[in-house]
């Protein structure tokens, strides 16, 4: 049975890729959206501060981390749309490996996020941003970002399973924005009131953003946050992964 886990997960991943092939526009939009955010915050909103290399050193890692958190919305939407369709009934009536549906979902989302990071990195490079650290540190930073995305993915799956209908997703989506912005992704907590600064520093997004700035060798970056950036997503996964798998198995009971 478990021998089929890989086989079935791969089949489900291929299903997601086949969807991409049929809806390339959707994939493109998902890739372009973070680029738009980067341009917007880099030039429109951040414009007041003057865009110099240093602000990009601060902003780009923040945007990377923010993009990983916003990925949660895409995951939620995809899962609720899938649940709404009859095909899930067929999957559940077949002898396929438990969780292969969810693994297919997460593989596709991780792939999309990795592509998104690549695109964002390229755009940032064109804008003049540079990573100053070693290549190993650069890869480590990408790893931390994808780890955060992976944790968000399973939160997204659980929320989708709990919310059920696509209409409910919108409600949850709105809640993602404050989580995204109550972080140090765009602004330093030192510039905020004390209580807010505390919230912001505890935000897992902030931990990842800080650690990534550090690994990219951004001038003036705080050091020593890498472990928190590993621990936070792992802690979230330890809670949400089993909950999501259980909830999926118990659907319709």
């Amino acid at each position: 049975m478990t021998s089929y886990a890989l086989n079935d997960s791969w089949t489900m991943t291929r299903r997601e890729l086949a969807h991409w092939a049929r809806q390339p526009a959707q994939v493109l939009v998902a890739l372009v959206f973070p680029v738009m955010l980067l341009l917007m915050f880099g030039y429109l909103i951040g414009g007041g501060r003057g865009v110099d290399g240093e602000y990009l050193d601060f902003l780009v890692p923040g945007m990377f981390a923010l993009t990983m958190v916003f990925g949660l919305e895409g995951t939620m939407l995809a899962v609720t749309q899938d649940l709404d369709k009859g095909v899930i009934d067929r999957f559940r009536s077949m002898p396929m490996a438990d969780g292969a549906v969810l693994v297919g979902r997460s593989a596709a989302d991780m792939l999309q996020s990795a592509l998104g990071l690549a695109v964002l990195t390229a755009v940032a490079y064109v804008l003049g941003w540079r990573a100053h650290g070693t290549f190993g540190a650069f890869l480590g930073a990408l790893g931390l970002l994808l780890l955060l995305r992976f944790a968000m993915l399973w939160i997204g799956i659980l929320l989708a399973l709990v919310a059920g209908k696509p209409e409910m997703v919108q409600a949850v989506q709105i809640l993602v924005w404050p989580v995204g912005f109550l972080s140090n992704a765009l602004a330093a907590p030192q510039s905020m009131p004390d209580w807010l600064g505390t919230v912001v520093e505890w935000n897992p997004l902030s931990q990842t953003a800080t650690a990534v700035r550090d690994l990219f060798g951004a001038p003036g970056a705080e050091t020593g946050h890498v472990w928190a950036a590993v621990a936070w997503p792992l802690a979230l996964l330890a809670v949400f992964f089993p909950l999501a798998v259980r909830k999926f198995g118990a659907l319709d009971e």
Partner: protein
């Protein structure tokens, strides 16, 4: 040999609705059992429980020799399901769907591809190419859904209203598919709104009403339940219907009147005796009959007889 499907005392509640209220049912191996019942009787609920999609609140459910709750995976290996609503990936094409499901049934990539081709051919979908299922007509979708449920030549096949929305040709194709499967030893449980379908395909027919079994038997046995043979009399003059009812050697309460068709219909358990009695009574009174016929009751009449009275507690009529 044990039965292919065993259901004992199964209950399922949705809030205050008892979708299934202590249901018992047995389906012998290699037979076709039809499940009839008005809307909301619990047919789909039962099919979903049998196909491991839904957990019953209580009772025993065995399919192909395995408990559908505790050994769901063993059951899933042995069943095919055509649900009431399409269970297909609408974004993908027909071949993509079948190949994907075939791989998930662990047929192996090559066998899955061959099998998908065979089934597309068999259900007249071979020329659909890459067209997404969401652009299929209702009938095409139904046929693809049926093809998906037949990928593995299942031991037990569940069909929830398989021909709803199909044109006569599509219906004939589904019936032919069911017959050939049963020839190969498959057990079929099918729900239907078409009594003719049950009559045509099923070895036995179970009638469900408000979550309970109200009858279970062969078509002939069920027809006997509805009062055996009936006599139909069509009058030349519809104005004489009322008078004719009073003349007949039958209790007036048993006679049903269809004014539009100038038709009287009544149980005729004694056949010839009733026939001659009716003819003599009409002739003596000078009421002219255009047509007189003795016939078996239709399943429609059985169905209405068994599920009509909302006040009656359905007492199980075993035959």
């Amino acid at each position: 040999m044990t039965d292919a499907i065993v259901v004992e005392g199964v209950r399922k509640r949705y809030g205050d609705t008892h979708a299934l209220d202590g249901l018992d049912l047995r389906v012998g191996r290699g037979t076709v059992h039809a499940l009839l019942g008005p809307n909301g009787a619990g047919k789909t609920t039962l099919v979903r429980i049998l196909s491991t999609l839904l957990r019953p609140d209580g009772g025993l459910v065995e399919v192909a020799g395995h408990d559908a709750v505790t050994r769901a995976r063993e059951v899933r290996r042995r069943i095919g399901l055509l649900g009431q609503h399409a269970a297909l990936d609408e974004e993908l094409g027909g071949r993509q769907n079948l190949e994907m499901f075939g791989r998930l049934y662990h047929l192996g990539a090559r066998h899955a591809r061959v099998r998908a081709g065979e089934l597309l051919e068999r259900f007249g979908l071979a020329d659909t190419g890459r067209k997404a299922v969401k652009r299929y007509s209702g009938g095409m979708r139904r046929r693809l859904d049926l093809a998906a449920s037949l990928l593995t030549d299942p031991e037990v096949l569940f069909l929830d209203e398989p021909t709803t929305g199909l044109d006569p040709r599509g219906r004939a194709e589904v019936w032919a598919a069911v017959r050939s499967l049963v020839g190969g030893g498959t057990t079929v449980l099918l729900t239907t709104q078409y009594l003719e379908e049950a009559d045509q395909l099923a070895d036995r027919i179970a009638v469900l009403d408000r979550g309970r079994l109200v009858a279970d038997g062969t078509a002939d046995e069920l027809k006997a339940l509805a009062g055996g043979d009936r006599i139909d009399v069509v009058l030349r003059d519809g104005g004489q219907l009322g008078a004719a009812v009073a003349l007949l050697p039958l209790a007036p309460a048993e006679v049903s009147v269809d004014v539009d068709r100038r038709l009287l219909s009544a149980p005729a358990a004694g056949r010839m005796k009733v026939l001659t009695g009716v003819l003599r009574a009409l002739e003596d009174a000078g009421v002219e009959a255009e047509d007189v016929a003795l016939r078996r009751p239709t399943l429609d009449e059985v169905f209405l007889h068994l599920t009509d009275d909302p006040a009656a507690t359905p007492a199980k009529e075993t035959v």
